[in-house]
């Protein structure tokens, strides 16, 4: 029986990453020997939605904050600084960058699943 990515696996991956896995969940870094195209496609689609959500949240933060702070900074005299940088660049750029990097690390190490690689056609 091929292994599948059910809701239980997703929940486990999100919330209980360090708890023992369900028997029918594929393990990260341990690809099974035979590709299941359908399961692989569905998992890739889930990952796609999470990535788009991460992009949207980052956009709301960066553009939402800076639409006020960065455009208002022009009239500030003297310039408001944080760590020697214009304040809006720290809160609206550097901080989201750090958070996005942390999310990326979590996503790649904890959420993205390994898949067995497809074999090349014989004429390759």
């Amino acid at each position: 029986m091929s292994k599948v990515w059910g809701d239980g696996c997703l929940k486990q991956r999100f919330l209980f990453a360090r708890t023992p896995r369900k028997a029918n969940c594929l393990r990260v870094s341990e690809p099974s020997t035979r590709p299941d195209t359908g399961a692989s496609y569905r998992q890739s689609k889930r990952e796609l939605f999470v990535m788009i959500a991460a992009w949207a949240v980052t956009g709301l933060w960066v553009l939402g904050y800076n639409s006020q702070a960065a455009y208002a900074a022009e009239t500030e005299t003297p310039v408001r600084m944080l760590f020697g940088l214009p304040r809006w660049t720290v809160i609206g750029w550097l901080l989201p960058l750090l958070v996005a990097n942390a999310f990326t690390i979590w996503f790649c190490l904890r959420f993205m699943r390994d898949e067995p690689m497809e074999d090349l056609p014989e004429d390759e």
Partner: protein, 646 residues
């Protein structure tokens, strides 16, 4: 130039030449080794995809180095220098680029490419949808838009070399010879001799090692180039912060700066016994104003003939420095020479947005000479936040790499590496070149050269001019790593999707021959087209990458993730996306009288193009012939045909 200045410049020039020569030797050694790897393997699979066996370091570095192109190290610094901290908002999409641009399609793309045995993007689309028309349209669009991208890189490579070798004696002799030889040739003679020579050397070297070593050579040189770029940025950052007196000082001085004014002046000479040449970039001090000290800087070289005391209509910029900006004033005054010439009747015009407005370089929308709305209105910032991650996802040159990694752990670790690498490149670049405005004012006269000028200035001031070679090698490496990838991509498409389709029984020896000559031909064509290049590098890059993104984003995503996609919808999506982008640039050209995008509702054309492409694809999928169910099952498994019907 004083004797000491000459010695310093000469040392820097020789060091640059030695660094450059060493760098090229290593590149060709790597190409030779890569060429040896080709023996005993399927030629096309090895030559264009390195036998699909890239490990983490190779995949991550080749992706990062290809992405950090001439735009990142030449165009981007030029824009930071010209517009200030607003560039952080312009490039904000890069915060999430590694995750989205790689993660969005890499896994599926690699799987589908392996399953179908595809080597190029057009081939993958053709095989997945079972349509030759899809493959043909994809090839035409890829070659067209990628070629613009390639052109921009050729210009950047030649520009860097002119700065790198500017003071080397042998080089100057060669430039004089090239100038004499090419002057009578129509069109070619119109190009500056130094640029021409560098373009020729750059094109010849990059085409030679790419053709010789193929994808593996490109990947190996990318790894070396990635390391050089990272090191270069870290060293530049340290030097810039030390010399500017710390980040706080740089930000404060920047906040007091106002944009320069552009126009003409009359130069008057007090003594006229002999002729006098004033080089491009010469500074002249003007009488002080209440809170500011004005200076005039020449935009091009001028010559007073013997007995001549006045030159009128000389192109200049006027830089008005705040009297509180000690570092900036010191930097300009160190370059002002008493040559017995003063500027009079200065007739200059300010920026349409930001003129005489302190604070404009540390806020949004940033100064702009040609628009009263500033550099980055908020809707344009939204556009670029969409543009970088999604146009990045749809670049065929990155897709070629995504087809070549060996397994998913390689992909996961590479995304993390690229995220950290980009953070260490792009944020420091903004700091370095905002410091550049304080340390090297007045480079609006040739903003595209600010990166190599900054490297030379910082190392000379620090007393380590030999280091300039390494630092200038960073943008050079960035340009080379992009050019080689794009060359390979274009020649791959021509060979695999055109030649091999027409000659399916061509022998391996024939394929090799055609591949080598195609690579050389594409390189020669790009070089010829760039003999008289347009001014702004970044405009070409944004057009090229935007066109590719608009043509391929929705078609590729839906090809990989939507079983119900039909061949006709894919063709319609590619043509409408790429076509919309071209139409917006055509309107921009008619409205602005220069090569630039028309921004409807302040949104970048990429956004409109992707929207049009998506809508057209959805509409065209209704009622058109569906994809063969066997193909759907092959690429989507047992769920494919159920979802496709739904």
């Amino acid at each position: 130039m004083t004797g000491a200045d000459f010695m310093l410049a000469s040392t820097a020039g020789n060091a640059a030449l030695i660094s450059f020569a060493l760098y090229m030797v290593v590149v060709f050694v790597l190409a030779g080794l890569a060429n040896r790897e080709q023996s005993g393997k399927s030629f096309l699979n090895e030559y264009f995809l390195g036998s699909r066996n890239l490990g983490m370091w190779a995949f991550a570095f080749t992706y990062a180095a290809t992405s950090a192109s001439g735009g990142s190290f030449m165009g981007f610094p030029s824009l930071i220098y010209t517009h200030g901290w607003v560039m952080a908002l312009w490039i904000a999409g890069y915060i999430i680029v590694p995750l989205v641009a790689i993660g969005l399609i890499a896994k599926r793309l690699n799987q589908v490419a392996r399953k179908s045995g595809s080597i190029t993007v057009p081939e993958l689309l053709r095989k997945r949808l079972g349509s030759d028309t899809v493959g043909a349209v994809a090839t035409v669009l890829l070659v067209f838009f990628q070629f613009f991208f390639l052109l921009a890189q050729f210009k950047a490579g030649a520009k860097i070399m002119t700065t790198l070798l500017g003071d080397v004696e042998v080089y100057q002799t060669a430039v004089a010879m090239v100038g004499r030889f090419t002057a009578p040739i129509p069109w070619v003679g119109a190009a500056e001799a130094d640029y021409l020579l560098c373009l020729l050397v750059f094109a010849a070297s990059v085409v030679a090692y790419t053709a010789w070593g193929g994808f593996r050579a490109v990947v190996w040189t990318d790894m070396m180039q990635g390391v050089i770029m990272g090191l270069g940025v870290v060293i530049l950052l340290g030097l810039a912060l030390t010399q500017v007196g710390g980040l706080s000082n740089a930000t404060q001085e920047l906040s007091r700066q106002v944009p320069p004014r552009d126009g003409n002046a009359t130069l008057v000479r007090t003594e006229s016994a002999s002729s006098l040449v004033l080089v491009k970039g010469t500074w002249l001090e003007m009488p002080p104003e209440e809170n500011r000290q004005p200076f005039v800087r020449l935009k091009e070289a001028v010559e007073f003939l013997e007995g001549q005391t006045e030159l009128s209509g000389v192109p200049v910029i006027e830089v008005r420095t705040s009297l509180e900006n000690a570092t900036e004033l010191k930097s300009i005054r160190a370059q002002v020479k008493d040559v017995g010439v003063s500027a009079q009747a200065v007739d200059v015009e300010g920026y349409q947005y930001g003129d005489d407005k302190p604070g404009v370089y540390v806020s949004a929308p940033g100064p702009k000479s040609s628009s009263g709305m500033g550099f980055l209105p908020i809707m344009l910032a939204v556009s670029f936040f969409c543009f970088w991650p999604f146009a990045g996802a749809a670049q065929p040159s990155y897709m070629a790499r995504q087809m070549a990694f060996k397994d998913i752990p390689t992909l996961r670790h590479s995304i993390i590496f690229v995220a950290l690498y980009f953070s260490l490149i792009y944020f420091p670049l903004i700091i370095i070149f905002t410091c550049g405005r304080v340390l090297l004012p007045g480079w609006e006269i040739d903003a595209d050269r600010v990166m190599p000028e900054m490297a030379t200035f910082l190392t000379s001031t620090a007393g380590v001019p030999w280091l300039a070679g390494l630092l200038v090698a960073a943008p050079f490496a960035a340009v080379m790593s992009s050019v080689d990838s794009f060359l390979l991509l274009v020649s791959g498409s021509v060979v695999r999707d055109v030649y091999q389709r027409k000659n399916p029984k061509a022998s391996e020896a024939q394929m090799k021959k055609v591949t080598y000559w195609t690579t050389v031909g594409v390189g020669a064509l790009a070089m010829f087209a760039m003999l008289n290049p347009p001014q702004f590098l970044q405009d070409l890059i944004v057009f090229g990458s935007g066109g590719l993104g608009a043509s391929f984003l929705m078609p590729v995503i839906l090809t990989l993730y939507w079983p119900g996609l039909t061949p006709r919808a894919t063709v319609a999506g590619m043509l409408s996306g790429g076509g919309t982008m071209a139409v917006f640039y055509l309107i921009g050209y008619l409205v602005h009288d220069k090569f630039s995008a028309y921004e409807l509702l302040s949104l970048h054309p990429f956004i409109w193009s992707v929207l049009v492409s998506a809508l057209v694809m959805l509409a065209a999928s209704k009622g058109s012939r569906p994809t063969d169910p066997k193909l759907v099952e092959k690429y989507f498994g047992n769920v494919g045909n159920e979802e496709g019907k739904a």
